[in-house]
Symmetry: C2
């Protein structure tokens, strides 16, 4: 598969998007613009990690786009209270911000168009789409179609998801091979350093390193048995 | 065509979306949530008009979502300077914010999901899609597909564009029939009251009233000959 010369990457500063950044460099993509979304995270460590990793990877530019999702609907990642209007009978409990990835990709596509780039990279992995419908390739195929139709000029927008069929375990394996500086990535939902070691995100991360018989280089607030 | 009982409407406070609001009431849509996007407009009159018209129409809720497009790319509507990174050879001049409607509709869809509504209304008219690709029905068909695939639950998101085949002149004609309070709508790009009467938006508006042999009820800063 041929790779574009330049691309925009949604870089959260987590382990998957950082591995994708190193993968893109390895594929010979020369000009990479990284985009981090400031969506109203309770913790800022993630945004700082994204910026530092972008610079370390020699990205051509790093763009932070503020999309305040806290105003749209409650989410454990952005608020403690659900701030929607009076409840209706059929209202579902909101546990994630709806259309989060659609908003992130569309914002990144808007930025990409202003700098003349038509290839967007995003790092959903196979583990994600069990829980999130907007992590499936089918969804990105549909978004490619709608963004291509909605672009200012008649053009083709490409959304590249090289890890969408890989498990998180496989992505860590690949990342280690590519010398990804995992010590600089941030994963913990609590946003603490050392990482809490207990939240779902920490648990997934720890398991992915263990499955590769590796020790995660970041410090944890609780003892982790890396031998099991 | 059957209409839903409840719906979300993107209400800018301009003449087309306001006519659509009155049209929706006339179709018997009982519960209407209006959404206005605060995208960093240089003038706030538009947002105030949207809020006032929503209340006057008896909407169930009015939601303002801030999406600061000024940070993504320059546009005459949001900034005087183009703030993109160092120019590249193939960089096009940015005259509109790319994917503006895609972002607006996706944000409205996210809000709609939190309140259990799957029908979104937006008011592109036939005159718009000569200039803007994201005002064509084809684009909204594609967005329906991608939003349906990306929704939290397996569902069908509907994007309704009842005016997409109508000219602005026809929409004014329909609006007058429906007693739309055009005196409360805002159109002028300059964001002044009285309206400047010279900008593209004012010119289009004036022409639409003239074509209907009507006088626009809003005041203009310059004399307008309504008889021609």
């Amino acid at each position: 598969m041929a790779h574009p010369e330049k691309a925009v990457l949604l870089l959260s500063g987590g382990m998957d998007s950082t591995a994708l950044l190193w993968w893109m460099r390895h594929q010979g993509i020369v000009t990479i613009h990284t985009v981090a979304i400031d969506y109203g995270q309770r913790h800022r460590i993630e945004l700082e990690a994204s910026s530092r990793l972008s610079e370390l990877a020699g990205a051509a530019a790093h763009k932070v786009i503020a999309l305040d999702l806290t105003q749209i609907g409650g989410s454990p990642l952005t608020s403690d209270a659900i701030d929607v209007p009076a409840a209706e009978a059929d209202q579902q409990v909101v546990t994630v911000v709806p259309f989060r990835n659609a908003l992130f990709v569309t914002a990144a596509a808007a930025y990409a168009e202003t700098v003349g780039i038509s290839n967007l990279y995003i790092s959903p992995v196979a583990d994600d789409y069990a829980a999130y419908r907007d992590c499936r390739r089918e969804f990105y195929d549909a978004m490619e179609a709608s963004l291509s139709l909605g672009a200012t000029q008649d053009t083709r927008v490409h959304i590249q998801t090289p890890f969408v069929e890989k498990s998180k375990v496989e992505v860590v394996s690949e990342g280690i091979r590519l010398r990804v500086p995992y010590e600089l990535t941030h994963t913990c939902y609590e946003g603490t350093q050392p990482a809490c070691g207990r939240c779902d995100a920490c648990t997934e991360r720890i398991d992915a390193f263990k499955a590769n018989s590796l020790t995660d280089p970041i410090p944890y607030a609780i003892p982790i048995d890396w031998s099991t």
